[in-house]
């Protein structure tokens, strides 16, 4: 993560390649985390306290998932897949930076303050995202669940009554659309590959499925947010339909495990998150303010 850049994106809410040139490759115009950080630093972003809490949840989901995906770098089954997982992880990191920058505006904190200087019990991520990578099939199972949840979530959130949440979601949904496609392709191939790949894919889904339920739990915060947020339970039917269709095509049963205890939204985490945070935070805590 970086400090807010001084130059401002001229049209921060412009979409896609509207400014692309036929002869020159440009980064394109889209909402960047830097723009949100700058708005927060200048005091022009004012999330309501409950909106900030909500953004913190989504930001922590994405941040923890990005850190997990980063652990695949140099360990992918093929160089091409290594890059694919890295790209998806960086997409998630971008979403995390946007949500955390916006949330931080409510408390006078930066994205780095929130990412590096909170304790485990202050993280609001759901348990799915902190689950260890396991083998490639387990990671694909986690990605498949994560994207099948994030895609309808961001699609609905893009019409949030909070304009910044809507803008972040509108940018993120296109990226998560690809994440869903990527994990679906792999789920189908592993399930339809060899006996061993099918066994591993089924085992990966068994491992991750108990953490599905937590994603769709309503609580007082989501009830209080009204049109600013998406009611978690409202997404369950679509999740069941889309994941069910893919699993049926793969010839795999939807795992019928009871839901794990959950509690991530209240800061109660499994034994895995502490190690992940220690690795993620050690440098920033050892050398506060370091830059490179």
């Amino acid at each position: 993560m970086t400090t807010p850049q001084k130059h401002r994106n001229p049209t921060p809410f412009a979409q896609g390649d509207s400014a692309a040139s036929a002869t020159r490759i440009t980064p394109g115009n889209a909402l960047r985390p830097e723009d949100i950080a700058l708005a927060a630093a200048e005091g022009t972003a004012h999330p309501a306290p409950e909106v900030a809490e909500y953004a913190l949840r989504l930001g922590d989901d994405a941040l923890v998932l990005a850190q997990r995906l980063g652990q695949w770098i140099s360990r992918g089954p093929e160089l091409e897949e290594d890059v694919a997982l890295g790209n998806i992880g960086l997409d998630q990191l971008g979403h995390a930076r946007s949500f955390l920058s916006y949330a931080g505006a409510a408390w006078g904190k930066t994205e780095d303050d929130l990412a590096y200087f909170r304790r485990e019990s202050e993280f609001r991520s759901a348990h799915l995202f902190e689950q260890p990578n396991g083998d490639f099939a387990a990671t694909m199972a986690r990605q498949f669940i994560a994207a099948s949840w994030q895609y309808p979530l961001y699609r609905e959130l893009s019409s949030s009554s909070d304009p910044m949440l809507a803008a972040i979601a509108a940018k993120a949904v296109k990226e998560v659309d690809y994440h869903l496609d990527h994990s679906t392709q792999w789920l189908l191939r592993l399930a339809g590959g060899t006996d061993e790949s099918r066994r591993r894919m089924a085992a990966g889904l068994d491992l991750m499925w108990p953490f599905v339920g937590e994603l769709f739990e309503d609580d007082p915060l989501t009830a209080q947010l009204g049109d600013a947020a998406v009611v978690p339970s409202s997404l369950k039917a679509e999740f069941d339909r889309t994941t069910g269709a893919v699993l049926a095509e793969a010839g795999l049963a939807v795992p019928a495990h009871p839901m794990a205890t959950g509690g991530g939204r209240r800061g109660r985490h499994s034994e895995h998150l502490g190690y992940l945070l220690a690795e993620m935070q050690v440098l920033a805590r050892e050398f506060p303010g370091a830059s490179w």
Binding site: D17, A20, A22, I25, P27, L79, E80, A84, N87, Y178
Partner: protein, 126 residues
């Protein structure tokens, strides 16, 4: 596209001499003696009105995944609006050793260029 990234995917020195398998549909068999995924050549069209240009090559288990890997490897910096992937062994290449007979013959044949001819009187806008 930076050169380091270009070469990261696979040596981009043209099609391999792997045996061509015609009976496997869109999924070419891995090259004999080279375990792993087959090689694909990637062509990227950068914008409307331009043609697809060879960007490099990559490994993928099938055409569907080759397109996704190409998207991840060669369009990360907004380089493209369309991608083609072609099995490397489906490309027939000219023989570099036959360069003389293939490509040097047109040299000196000025009459194949419009500038060889004198402009007729009264013709405008040439």
């Amino acid at each position: 596209m930076c050169p380091a990234e270009n070469s990261a995917a696979a040596p981009a020195d043209g099609p391999t001499d792997a045996p061509v398998s015609r009976d496997s549909g869109t999924t070419p068999a891995p090259a004999a003696g080279a375990p792993g995924w087959p090689l694909w050549e990637v062509f990227v069209r950068s914008n409307r009105g331009l043609s697809h240009v060879h960007a490099g090559s990559l490994h993928a288990p099938d055409a569907t995944m080759a397109l996704r890997n190409a998207r991840d490897l060669y369009t990360r910096r907004n380089e493209g609006v369309s991608i083609w992937v072609v099995p490397s062994d489906a490309i027939a290449a000219s023989d570099p050793d036959a360069k003389g007979s293939f490509f040097e013959s047109p040299q000196g044949k000025d009459y194949r260029h419009a500038t060889y001819y004198t402009k007729s009187e009264g013709v405008k806008h040439l």
